[in-house]
Amino acid sequence: MERKNILNLMVILFFSILLLGLFRLDILQGAKFRKQSDSNCIRLIAQFGARGDILDRNGEVIVDSKISYDVMILPQELSHVDQVISRVSRILGYSVNELKTAFKKNYISNSVPVTVATNIDLKKAIMLGEYKVEEPSVIVQPKPLRHYPYGSLAAHTIGYVNQIDRWRLTKLEDYGYKTKDIVGFGGVEEKYDYYLRQEEGGLSVEVNHRGKFMRVLGFQAPVNGKDVQLTLDLRIQKIVEESLNNKNGSVVMMNPQNGEILALASYPNFNPSVFVNNRTSLISGLFNNPDAPLINRAISSSYPPASVFKLIVSIAALELKKINTSTNYLCQGSTMVGARRFSCWDVHGTEDIFQAIAHSCDVFFYKVGLLVGPQNIHDYAQRLGFGKNVGFELPYETAGFIPSPLWRKLNKFKSWYDGDTANLTIGQGDCLVTPLQATNMTAVFANGGYLLNPYIVKSVGGLDFSAKKKKFTALNLKKNTLAVILKGMRRVVTDSNGTANILSTLPVAVAGKTGTAQVSGKINHGWFVGFFPFEKPKYVICVFLEHGGSGHAAVAVTKQIIEAMSQQKLI
């Protein structure tokens, strides 16, 4: 071939290479380069909506958001920044060095605004806004922060907010959660996070190669979270927490007619605002505290129910006709069960069912319990909601535990003895219930035999859920059974030797049952469950004092609560 033809072919070949290269860049990799081109010049400036408020049943705010202002500087030209910082420091009254350190610490790149000061107040924010007119690189960013007007009030019900952790992120990624999102931990904040959480909006802006702002491409308004209204009554909640008066334990109050939780307290508690300000020392103090202040004792921990459990045994015995109102047993302070002596806490003499409930006579119930049998007791306990989750809305509910002979055989490889039955009848041994379960059980007596579904969230975003949440399970108890036990519970208060006799001085008629749970090597737990007014029950109450001494202490707390409530005309 002639040299000129070869050269001609070479030129064609080389130009074909150009076309192929163009094809590769534009067609094969075009999408990738388009994306890179966009990320070169598009920046997002986030704007935050406010998290939804949490309200009580009357619309009182328990938790809301307060707007705080962050000051940011867009460092377009670094030489210019010093001048801007000195102006900002004069307006804020902060030292220049402080701002410069913050600037250096938070600096990412020329095109990303740098936060130099957080949580400045409104007045300074307005002054900075005026300065912004002449210096557009200053950005005053409103940022809503969680605000707790009542501090630690109802802290366990509400929960707290913090940056999302890895475990939650893997779970929630598919629902649009991102790293560094603020999400709820515990309580309503966690359970209803999806509704409470705000939608981030923001500006997308175009910048040039120096990160200098060119124009706004789009704006999406942030959307505030939905408000959640609780069934809690803030007034009662305050009374309850004041009356609990820094004693470890829990108080639950519920409406026995529909299952609305009116107050739910747990102590030790915490102030959720420490998580907002991210005060690390305080937070680690909360996590390391052996008393576990972050645990909601009303639902997340279970305790031996002690004499409160005698109500279950009474129902079982009466329903199964093992005893009637004329059944009598003699209490001489102790009785033999098998080869072991089981003692009563006092010497009661001859007791019928009414007296036995009123005086909480152990001997009577040992004997009745042996008549009924452990399996029946276990079955009735389950029917009244023990040993399984209540199905409550707040997270981390525990089921408690009611032992049975079968369980013992299967899991412990041991036989069930009469002594175990005796222990079970007085709510000791392996038996564990939560204060919420005890409340729910008591409500059965207050409303004439219906097991309820306790709930605490009334409405979300204005949509009332209470009709859906209200759920009754008829237990089909005999009228007579209930009447007998109600009479017994009333006599706990009215009987001069009744264990809650001090409540008889109250202006409202109260009925209930006390309990003192023995804890080996430690101070006893105190229980009181009850309801009032006796004729037309509006409130069920459960007071539990962890290592509080005895049921008597719990009754004293109950008395304070009811006194304060009647003073404020809440009954």
Partner: protein, 366 residues
Amino acid sequence: MRNSFLKILVLALIIAILGVLSIYSSTFQKEGAWQDIHLRQMLWLAIGLACFFAMANFNYRKLWDANYFIYGVALFFLLLVFGLGIIRLGAQRWLKFAWFNFQPSEFAKLAIIIFLARYFSRKSVNDISLSSGKFGIFRGIILPFIFVAIPMFLIIEQPDLGSGLMLMLVFVCLLYLTNVRLRYIFTLLVTLILPLPFLWHFLHDYQKQRLLVFLNPNIDPLGAGYTIIQSRIAIGSGGFWGRGWLSGTQSQLYFLPESHTDFIFATFSEQWGFLGSCLLILMYYLIIRQGFIIAQRTQDAFGRLLAYGISLLLALQVFINIAMNMGLAPVVGLPLPLMSYGGSSVLVTFIALGILVNIDRTRNVF
């Protein structure tokens, strides 16, 4: 006969106008002196067109006689650059005249081609055959090499590696088209390529870095590799249809450096896409093909070599520039003829095209 004149004129004009549009779009958002840069380019275009018409009517045979003079002038300007040249972007490539800067290396490229065309088309005294067929290695290779090497050395020292190597490439290609034996050409190539590893040490740091970056742009994405990465992004983000004239963020927001000179192809490609870029490359090819056709039908050996030389110069510059825009060649300071901003390049390209047209017009005279 007039046919090639019209074809070349129309194609060159279209490309040049696209160039002005791209220059306008890449600078219209900049402030101050940048804003009328497209007007200056249009002025150069007008002058270039005038030169084109002038050269089209100027008998190219007269270049034969003037070739030593032209060569001498080119050398003179290149030497002048050393003494008086202004420094821009770290290189001393320009001579300042009244209101414009002149880049002698552009002119030198054309001068070398004229010189070589004449050198290899001399006829022997005894008969009318070309004497180049009988050249030995000294007269066939070494002597012309020395004539090329002097301006090449001056250009590389400016430093402008791209234009310098361009001379060498044109030289080798022209050698290939003469009657010089292939053996000699291979000998030359081998002696040129063998010492390359040693020449590495004589390269400037920025030149070494550019070569390294060419092999992997990501070793220095914000430094030497920045341009090539941004240029590839610009071209690739154009997609099939392009982002439209005056839009396209890479060039409009200055992510792409040198968007109106060496990287104008990326600017153009971002805005006009795969389709526009293909058409542009096609138009360049058509001009070059026209040059080859003219060369082939010219009886005169000088005219033929000159036409080949001009076409090859154009082809090499277009290929290397576009290839470097796409990251297929290392970044060297070569403009895209007819499109890139720069008076010298526009002027010299139009003069070269004018010569080309004139060769076709007067081919039958001899």
